[in-house]
C-alpha cells in the first residue's frame, strides 16, 4: 500500500525544512507518497487527549478515515502525530463500543473508520523496517563526520506494549539509522529522558519544561555532541527554541533525521530549511 503523508502542525508551520527534507529523502529512496488531503492536527496527544479523550480519538479517527478513503497507509514524521494516530487506530481496533461512538459522530460527516483499516507508520521505523540498509547507503553521497546525540522522544517507542518497535529503555533503531551516514551516535546519560515539552507542560508550565530541557542540554553538551538528531518536530522545537531561551552558549544545532539524511544525500542545504532554526546549523560534515 502507498503512503499518505500526514504532515501535522509543527513540521509544515514552524520547521518546513523537516517537511521538504522528508519529501526529498523519500523520493531519492524510491518511496512514493501522496499528501493526506484535508487532514487536521493529529490532534496533539499531550494536550487534546488530556483535555478530552473523546475529542482526541474522534479527530484522529477522521484523519485515519481520510487515509482509508485515499486507500493508503499513513506516514508521520512526528512522535506526537504518530502517538495520536497509532494509538487511536489501536483503540478503535480493540474497543467496539468506542468504535461505535466514534462512527456515530463521523456518520454526520458521511465518513466512517474501519478497525485496522490502515496502518500508521513513522518515518524512522519505516526506514528501519521497510528500506534496506544497502538502499539507504547507496542513496548517500558523502560520509558525515559527526558526533550525534540521538533523542528518541517519548511517543515513538512508548507505550512499548502496543508500539512494539524497540526496547524503550535501550533502543538502537535510530542510532543505527544515524550511523549509516558515517556519523557516530553517542552514548549519554539520561538519553531516554523526555525533552520536557510534552503533556501540555510547555504551554502551562514553560519554566518546568525548560528545566527538563536544560538538564538534557547540559548532558548533551558534556558528551561533546556536534548536533542533536530527533525524530519529532515537537522535541526539535523544544531543543531549538529551548537553547535560545536558556541563553547559554550551548550552540548545538538540532536536526530531524530527515534533515540529517538530506545532508548525507548532499541535498542543497537551502532545501533542508535550516533558515527556520534558532540555533544556526553550521556543521563541518
Amino acid at each position: 500500500m502507498d503512503l499518505a503523508f500526514f504532515v501535522g502542525c509543527i513540521a509544515p508551520l514552524r520547521y518546513p525544512g523537516i517537511e521538504s527534507a522528508t519529501r526529498e529523502v523519500l523520493e531519492r529512496l524510491g518511496v512514493s507518497i501522496r499528501d493526506l488531503e484535508g487532514a487536521s492536527c493529529c490532534p496533539a496527544p499531550g494536550v487534546t487527549r488530556s483535555f478530552d479523550v473523546k475529542t482526541w480519538v474522534t479527530m484522529a479517527a477522521r484523519n485515519i478515515a481520510l487515509a482509508e478513503r485515499q486507500g493508503q497507509n499513513i506516514m508521520t514524521v512526528c512522535n506526537g502525530c504518530f502517538g495520536s494516530l497509532f494509538e487511536s487506530a489501536h483503540l478503535l481496533g480493540e474497543d467496539p463500543a468506542l468504535l461505535r461512538d466514534v462512527n456515530d459522530i463521523l456518520e454526520g460527516l458521511n465518513m466512517t473508520v474501519t478497525p485496522h483499516g490502515v496502518e500508521v507508520r513513522h518515518f524512522a521505523e519505516f526506514l528501519a523496517k521497510d528500506v534496506s540498509d544497502n538502499t539507504i547507503k547507496k542513496s548517500f553521497k558523502r560520509k558525515l563526520d559527526l558526533d550525534v546525540a540521538v533523542h528518541y522522544g517519548c511517543h515513538f517507542l512508548k507505550p512499548s506494549k502496543i508500539k512494539q518497535l524497540d526496547d524503550p529503555e535501550r533502543p538502537t533503531m535510530v542510532d543505527k539509522l544515524v550511523e549509516l551516514t558515517g556519523a557516530r551516535s553517542l552514548e549519554y546519560k539520561d538519553k531516554q529522558m523526555c525533552c520536557g515539552a510534552g503533556g501540555g507542560v510547555r504551554a502551562r508550565h514553560p519554566d518546568t519544561a525548560l528545566a527538563m530541557t536544560k538538564a538534557k542540554m547540559d548532558i548533551i553538551k558534556e558528551a561533546g555532541a556536534d548536533c542533536i538528531v530527533d525524530v519529532c518536530p515537537f522535541c526539535h522545537l523544544q531543543y531549538d527554541k529551548g537553547q535560545k531561551a536558556l541563553g547559554k552558549d550551548y550552540d548545538i544545532p538540532v536536526l530531524h533525521l530527515a534533515q540529517l539524511y538530506g545532508l548525507a544525500m548532499d541535498i542543497d542545504p537551502k532545501l533542508l530549511g535550516f533558515e527556520a532554526h534558532d540555533i544556526p546549523v553550521k556543521l563541518k560534515v
Binding site: L13, G38, P45, F51, I105, E169, V201
Partner: protein, 169 residues
C-alpha cells in the same frame, strides 16, 4: 463530591469505569516518582496522585496544579512493577479536571486555536514565504486549504462538546 479528605466511593467508581481497575494495584513503591523527569524539577509526585486516586479524593486531585506537570513520557508506565495504567489514569483525572472547570488559560487558548484553524500552530506570511523557497506549496494540503474539511473538524468538536465545556467553565 464529599468533603476533601473523606473518600468518595462513587467518584472512585467513575474513575474505574473509565480506566479500569489497575489503580487498585498500586502498592506505593515509588518507582514512578523516581523515574519522573518532571518530578526531578518540581514537587509533583506521581505516587501521591496515584494514592489520592486510590483513596478516592477528587477534591484534592482535580483542582491541583500538580496534575498538569506530567509530560506523558510513559517512563513510569513502562517501569511500574504492578502494571498500573499511570498515564491513562492521569489522563482520565485531567479530563475530569477540565470538566470541573480547572483549566489554565494557556490550555483554553490551544483549544480555541484548534477549533478556529484545525491546527495547533498558527500560520504566517513569513512561514508561507519560507515554504515557497523550499519548493513546498505555500499552504499545506490540510484543513488550511479546505474550508469543508475545517468545518468537519469543528463539527466533531461541537459533537464532543469540548468547546462548550471550556466556555461554561
Amino acid at each position: 463530591m464529599a468533603a476533601d479528605n473523606v473518600p468518595d466511593t462513587a467518584w472512585k467508581s467513575t474513575l474505574i469505569d473509565d480506566v479500569g481497575e489497575t489503580v487498585n494495584l498500586c502498592f506505593q513503591c515509588g518507582t514512578c516518582t523516581s523515574s519522573c523527569p518532571s518530578g526531578r524539577m518540581t514537587a509533583f509526585r506521581t505516587r501521591q496522585i496515584l494514592r489520592m486516586a486510590q483513596f478516592g479524593l477528587p477534591e484534592l486531585i482535580l483542582p491541583s496544579d500538580d496534575l498538569w506537570y506530567c509530560t506523558t513520557c510513559y517512563t513510569c508506565y513502562e517501569r511500574c512493577p504492578r502494571g498500573v495504567e499511570i498515564v491513562g489514569i492521569i489522563t482520565s483525572l485531567r479530563n475530569m479536571a477540565v470538566r470541573a472547570g480547572f483549566m489554565s488559560e494557556a490550555h483554553k487558548d490551544l483549544v480555541k486555536t484548534l477549533y478556529e484553524t484545525g491546527h495547533l500552530i498558527p500560520t504566517s506570511d513569513k512561514i508561507m514565504a519560507l515554504r515557497k523557497d523550499l519548493g513546498l506549496d505555500e499552504v499545506p494540503h490540510t484543513v488550511l486549504r479546505d474550508k469543508e474539511a475545517l468545518k468537519q473538524v469543528q463539527y466533531i468538536m461541537e459533537q464532543t462538546r469540548l468547546l462548550m465545556i471550556i466556555k461554561e467553565s
